[in-house]
């Protein structure tokens, strides 16, 4: 033999023709090391005008609540929330019926309550995802943008067409007859297509 094999080569030999075992674990670690670090909240705290083009490319919605619109008072430290909505079966521009909508949220520095609903173009009817007659979804503060554990199945109540998905983040869950002042809010377009 010309030389002794190293650990990696020995793992490949031991796995024979299968991609399993320590060699594959090592591959994943190397792949993982090339991936971008999870986004941190500091990066959200860029002025909107700077951040918006990049975020638009990532199909995300940024709401910067630091210099609040008139009527909203800052509540403690600034919040720069990023909410992303992904159609798991296609894209937001063409989301097949029966797909799943995944919400992701990050850039919050306090517990928040998420309310979200969809409204078909030209309709006043709301299809509630979080909140409405039920409780808003309470979320712990999270710097990195991470998907929520609850996803939305697009059932038969979602007819093909164009919708606006609205969301708000508040300090408290809205209770009947009142609306907590939102810390952040936004909307994204969603087009549902026949499966």
């Amino acid at each position: 033999m010309s030389r002794s094999p190293d650990d990696r080569e020995l793992d490949l030999l031991l796995a024979r023709d299968k991609a399993v075992g320590p060699a594959v674990d090592a591959m994943w670690e190397k792949v993982s090391a090339t991936l971008p670090a999870p986004r941190r909240s500091r990066s959200w705290r860029l002025p909107v005008m700077v951040a918006a083009p990049a975020l638009a490319a990532a199909a995300a919605v940024l709401i910067f609540v630091g210099g609040p619109p008139s009527g909203l008072q800052p509540k403690g430290p600034m919040v720069a929330a990023l909410v992303d909505v992904v159609c798991s079966g296609g894209s937001r521009g063409a989301c097949p019926s029966g797909s799943t909508l995944v919400f992701a949220l990050g850039g919050t520095d306090r517990p928040t309550y998420l309310t979200a609903w969809a409204q078909a173009e030209g309709s006043d009817e709301r299809i509630w995802y979080f909140g409405g007659s039920g409780e808003a979804l309470r979320l712990e503060a999270r710097e990195a943008v991470t998907p929520l554990s609850r996803a939305i199945a697009l059932g038969p109540e979602h007819h093909p067409g164009t919708y606006l998905v609205h969301w708000t983040l508040a300090d408290a869950s809205p209770v009947s007859g009142s609306q907590a002042a939102p810390l952040a809010q936004g909307q994204v377009a969603l087009t549902i297509v026949p499966r």
């Binding site: 020995l10 490949l12 031991l14 023709d17 090339t34 992701a104």
Partner: protein, 207 residues
């Protein structure tokens, strides 16, 4: 079945770049990508030989490219992900072969990339030199407990260290130690076979 079919929320999390979702997809497709690249190397290197580690490097490059933000955006979520990965693997292989030709100063010579897709009559290429693999098989057949069980769980069933430890009632450190013993044992078996003049991980690209 695609991992995206098994878990409806996976695609959304995957496209957001969630690390755990990426790992699930990596492990679901790593064998297919490995096979594609191995076959591609065999078909493009002709009678040359190559190291198994080259395949591993190309597999890593394929997933690193596919999981980069631009790669995740490039996947439309409609076509099968395996087909998308095969395209990325093909491009990675072409880049690697071109670089190799430049390094060998063969850039001026005509070259046609041979698609790695299997054709009728293509046999699966050997993972390594048959003589070396015979030694590996012999070594594995002679394993005793607890090496045999750890070998089965880790290198055949593909369980993670933690899963192996749980299944066998061992600690992770014990699993790591036994893996080290497996490697040392194989290295010793290969070393003992001094009459073999072929480097131990050199794969003959026989067609």
């Amino acid at each position: 079945m695609s991992p995206f079919d098994q878990d409806p929320s996976l695609l959304g999390r995957f496209r957001l770049g969630e690390r755990r979702a990426l790992e699930v997809v990596f492990r679901a497709y790593v064998q297919d990508v490995t096979d594609t690249l191995r076959l591609g190397l065999v078909r493009n290197l002709g009678g040359s030989s190559f190291h198994a580690t080259w395949v591993a490097d190309l597999v890593q490059d394929t997933f690193a490219r596919a999981f980069a933000p631009s790669g995740l955006r490039g996947f439309d979520g409609v076509r099968p992900y395996g087909a998308y990965l095969a395209t990325v693997a093909r491009n990675v292989l072409i880049d690697w072969l071109r670089k190799r030709r430049r390094d060998e100063d063969l850039a001026g010579q005509p070259w046609v990339f041979v698609e790695p897709g299997a054709e009728e009559g293509d046999a699966q290429p050997p993972w390594d030199d048959p003589a070396v693999m015979a030694l590996v098989n012999e070594y594995v057949a002679g394993l005793e407990e607890p090496l045999r069980s750890v070998y089965q769980k880790r290198y055949v069933d593909g369980l993670a260290q933690e899963g192996t430890a749980t299944a066998l009632g061992l600690s992770r450190q014990q699993v790591r130690t036994i893996e080290e013993r497996l490697r040392k044992g194989l290295a010793g078996a290969l070393q003992a076979h001094t009459s073999d003049s072929t480097p131990p991980t050199r794969l003959q690209a026989a067609k």
